[in-house]
Each structure stands twice: as C-alpha cells, then as structure tokens.
C-alpha cells in the first residue's frame, strides 16, 4: 500500500477513538490533531521493529501518554501561549542539514530514506526504483551515502556542531 493511503487508513480507523478520548477530557480538536499526528510518527517508526502487538492498541497507548504529558505541561505553563499552527523557524543546524541533503540530489535522498528511515527491504526498493538486481540497488545506496558523507567531510562538521 502506498504510504499516503496507509496514513489515510490510519486516520479513518484510529483517529475517532483518540479524538473521543481527548474531547472527553476537555481537549480541543487542535490538541487531538497534534497528539494523533505525533502518535502516527511513533507508530510508523516502530511498526517494523519493536512491537508485534495490536496496532490500534499501541497507537492509542502512545496517544494517551502524549495527552497526559500535554496536560501536565499545560498545567505547569498555564500562562505560556503557543500557536500550534505556526511552524517554528528552522535553526542554523537544520538549514545546514537541508543544504547537506540537497547536495546528494532528490533521488538519492529518497533512496536513502527508504533504506534508513522506512527500513524497507532491498527487494522492495529495487522494484520501486527500477534497479535490475539487489546488488546494484545496494551499490547505488552506498554511492549516495558516499556523496552525502563527502559533504559532511568538506564542511568539517562535527556531531556536536551539527546537532547543536
């Protein structure tokens, strides 16, 4: 299933329960949206690794925890106002990051993300990107990795300076 379709299915299947939970505790639609979206990130990143339990129960548990954390934070900083719709300004490190990634080219970054963020199987990526063999897919991955790493080297970026 295409990722966009998967996300849509998650909204349709799981958002009502989470939203109902938050609404009953005095939360707003914006609260429900933000918490559910954060929950989806956790679900996505863990779906192939740590848990083999019921997906819905897992996501609901994550969202409940996020809600409790949100409520505690809100009680603590009652006077602080945050506009949830406003994107935070990118930091210097983030700008540096984007610059770095651009240097590898869009196709390369998509390939690397499929491997290292989506944890997708080589076989699936080979078909998706039209490579002839798993070996040539792996070679392309390492070439892309070499390109980005070279930029890291040229900019003499240390781990600390990069993620300040």
């Amino acid at each position: 299933m295409e990722r966009k379709e998967l996300i849509k299915q998650w909204y349709i299947s799981y958002f009502p329960k989470v939203a109902s939970f938050i609404a009953k505790r005095g939360g707003t639609l914006d609260d429900a949206r933000d918490i559910f979206q954060e929950g989806l990130i956790v679900l996505y990143e863990k779906r192939n690794t740590a848990f083999h339990t019921n997906e819905e129960a897992y996501l609901f548990g994550v969202c409940k925890n996020l809600w409790f954390k949100h409520s505690t934070d809100q009680a603590r900083f009652q006077n602080a106002t945050i506009d949830p719709g406003e994107e935070p300004e990118p930091t210097v490190a983030e700008n540096r990051l984007l610059q770095l990634l651009d240097s590898a080219g869009k196709k390369c970054m998509q390939l690397l993300q499929r491997f290292y963020y989506d944890n997708e199987k080589t076989e699936t990526i080979r078909e998706e990107f039209g490579f002839s063999t798993n070996h040539s897919t792996a070679v392309q991955k390492y070439k892309c990795l070499e390109k980005v790493r070279e930029t890291v080297k040229q900019n003499s970026l240390s781990y600390e300076s990069f993620f300040e």
């Binding site: 990722r3 996300i7 639609l29 989806l40 993300q113 963020y117 070499e146």
Partner: protein, 91 residues
C-alpha cells in the same frame, strides 16, 4: 564494488549490527583501525549522515501526515470521518 564503497558498507554494519560482524569483517575493521588514520573520522561522519537521513525522513513523513489531514479536513471536504470528529468537539 569499489574499495571505498565496501568500506562504507562495513561502517554501516558497524553502526547498525556491530554484533553481527563476520570474522573477516572484524579483521578488516581492526586493520582499518590500526592502519587508516582517517577511519575513526569516517565512522563519525557516517553517523552524522545517518542522522541526517533519519531526520529528513521524519520531516517528510510529518509533512505527509499533515497533508493527509488537511485533505480530509479541508473546509469543503465532505466525509464520514470529518463529520464524526467535528461532532465530538461541537460544545
């Protein structure tokens, strides 16, 4: 595969599956550690690279999750989910 790419592959395994290195890979790792003065720095640079990829992957996913929400909850959108959710927050 080129020697430099093999080295990248070795570092990748070192980062993600250090316990699964074969005896040959372990020997190769030790050889690089002793003889190649840049090896340690290359490992550090590759770790940064991996972090970059994962962060940008997460950003792309966040965007996609928001886009799907905006589509489903667009002011002109009409669907069961939107009605169901809106009814929860009516008061």
């Amino acid at each position: 595969m080129r020697v430099s790419l093999n080295k990248i592959a070795l570092i990748e395994k070192l980062i993600f599956h250090a316990n699964a290195l074969s005896p040959e890979e372990k020997a190769l790792f030790e050889t690089y550690s002793i003889l190649d003065p840049d090896f340690e720095q290359e490992i550090a640079q590759q770790k940064i690279t991996m972090d970059c990829i994962q962060r940008s992957g997460r950003k792309a996913l966040q965007r996609e999750i928001r886009d799907v929400y905006n589509e489903l909850f667009h002011p002109h959108a009409k669907n069961t989910l939107k009605s169901k959710i809106s009814s929860l927050f009516r008061n």
